[in-house]
């Protein structure tokens, strides 16, 4: 049965992807309402061959809406999700506003779809770097119980939005042209041909020395996996890649699991594509994942520094499975 759907933040990187995925998955939409801030009002966006006009997001934007997909940042979600709920909509929120609230399900459908039913009007979509990691780790946790995760990320700039992509591309062209006086708008340092061990680009650091992105990986992983005993430490870094987060993930398990057992598990795991043939130089790559739905896993090998350890390389499209696709999968389960 078709429903009325609102997209909040329709002109952003994730908003654009929401529309592409709703269209390609033939999501049963009766009425589509595209919402954004004042400065995007009037902009036309094509969906299934029809032009839609972007409307201003207001308290009364959600009248008649059944499902509201939010991706316009935390403060917008905090302000407008309550109005959407009041109007009778169920919200799938891509921001971090409600993720750690006890009464808000934080869901990756391949991992904890059962939580969706517990919602009270809003379901939180996890952070991109967390989603792809838990999709790959859940089957291993079920089989051998993960005790500890040490993760280092190589994250694409599109996680910081379309302006960040523009900044990387312009800066890269400047550096190639031998210019050094380019103006920076978003990133605190040069991102072209560089690596920034800071995400997000502002107000990143917490009193314990970690960034908020790093602590999201710790806290969200425990919540999604439903296991507070998993110990996690993370280092997150931005690399000059447009799309596709890569992650170097080291795990220690309670029970011994071999690399070939992990490969076997992941070869049939939901949402996972095993890409692991090093002899032929085949392993997950950001440019392979871009535009694809799966979480790609490879370079699976036993960690020889401990008894029960595994190293792996996990890559996924941060805008698709890391954001828009995961939210729409949640919406599909809602229907």
């Amino acid at each position: 049965m078709a429903v009325n759907v609102a997209v909040v933040g329709a002109t952003g990187a994730v908003g654009e992807e929401f529309l592409r995925i709703l269209e390609s998955r033939k999501f049963p939409i009766k009425e589509l309402r595209l919402l954004a801030s004042k400065r995007s009002v009037g902009k036309k966006i094509k969906f299934c061959g029809v032009n839609y006009v972007v409307q201003e997001l207001t308290k009364s934007s959600f009248r008649g809406i059944k499902i509201a997909l939010f991706s316009a940042g935390s403060s917008i979600s905090k302000e407008f999700v309550p109005y959407a709920i009041e109007s009778g909509a169920v919200c799938v929120d891509n921001s971090s506003a409600f993720r750690m609230d006890d009464d808000v399900p934080l869901v990756v459908p391949e991992v904890n779809a059962q939580e969706i039913a517990k919602h009270k009007g809003v379901i939180a979509n996890p952070n991109c770097s967390t989603i792809q990691m838990v999709v790959a780790l859940k089957p291993i946790h079920d089989a051998a119980r993960i005790k500890r995760i040490v993760v280092s990320t190589y994250q694409a700039v599109s996680g910081a939005g379309l302006k960040a992509v523009d900044e990387l591309q312009k800066e890269t062209a400047s550096v190639l042209a031998g210019k050094t006086d380019f103006k920076r708008n978003l990133f605190p340092h040069q991102i072209a041909f560089n690596v920034l061990p800071q995400i997000p680009q502002s107000n990143a650091f917490l009193p314990n020395g970690y960034t908020s992105e790093e602590m999201k990986m710790v806290n969200e992983t425990q919540k999604i996996m439903g296991d507070k005993n998993i110990r996690i430490t993370a280092t997150t870094a931005r690399v000059p890649v447009v799309r596709g987060h890569s992650e170097s993930v080291n795990i220690e398990t309670e029970r011994k699991i071999t690399a070939s057992e992990v490969k076997k598990l992941l070869s049939k795991a939901p949402g996972v594509k095993l890409v692991d043939d090093p002899a032929n130089q085949v392993y997950p790559l950001a440019n392979m994942a871009a535009g694809r739905d799966e979480v790609f896993v490879g370079r699976i090998r036993e960690d020889e520094s401990i008894d029960n350890g595994i190293n792996m390389w996990i890559v996924s499209d941060n805008i698709r499975k890391g954001a828009a696709l995961n939210a729409i999968q949640i919406a599909e389960k809602l229907l």
Copy 2:
């Protein structure tokens, strides 16, 4: 007292850097002999204002040479180091040819300079990714004994030579211009706006699933630190950066050491520059390290997933401290 010096591989990325550093450090050179393969013979290279002509590397190239700096790959070192020793030269070899030989010292002067005296004609220069890590970790090992290291690297393409830099730059320009049909010569996959979890670019993988680069970090670290009990696991990846390797390093120590104790130690450690002021978005960066001598360390924080753990971000110029500078520091100690 000035000595006769030969540079083998004078036209490569490290060879060029050898000359820059010999000049800037006023290394006491009586005669300089630039050696390379046949196809570079006759090429002129300026050193201290004088043009030198590149000569062909042959068995008899080392007559009268006191110090021979090798950086032309393993097979060249294996073939020609014996002739250099026969001629009475002491070789500092940047290749992996002799690094793990029991009777060859593997030296990072800040860590194990005392090993230099034990040489029998050749001293091995470690792998770039290993050098910067052990410079930062030695003071911590001395203070709290490191039990285990989990490292993930973000390595610059210059580690694969000047052709790799050219490939990255040309490929990047092609991608920016919207072309997808660019020809690849060196890397097995697109390196522009991508991350490759494979180093080196060919014949990388060993039977245990690790790359040779990863196992160098394991074996060389134990040898340089003089401690076989340090457990190490590594994931090495190439990022679209020209110069400067970044490393996300997680350590577990035997005795508790706090983040502020680590910072205090590293603020006075030889060869280390502490760059750690996250509140002001100050931390080590590849483009900050490029062309500099120090190993930059920052993002030092306690790993909350174990009792005695520290995370840190270590960056250095892979061609300078990671190769040419370290070799010349060894040569200086030899004199």
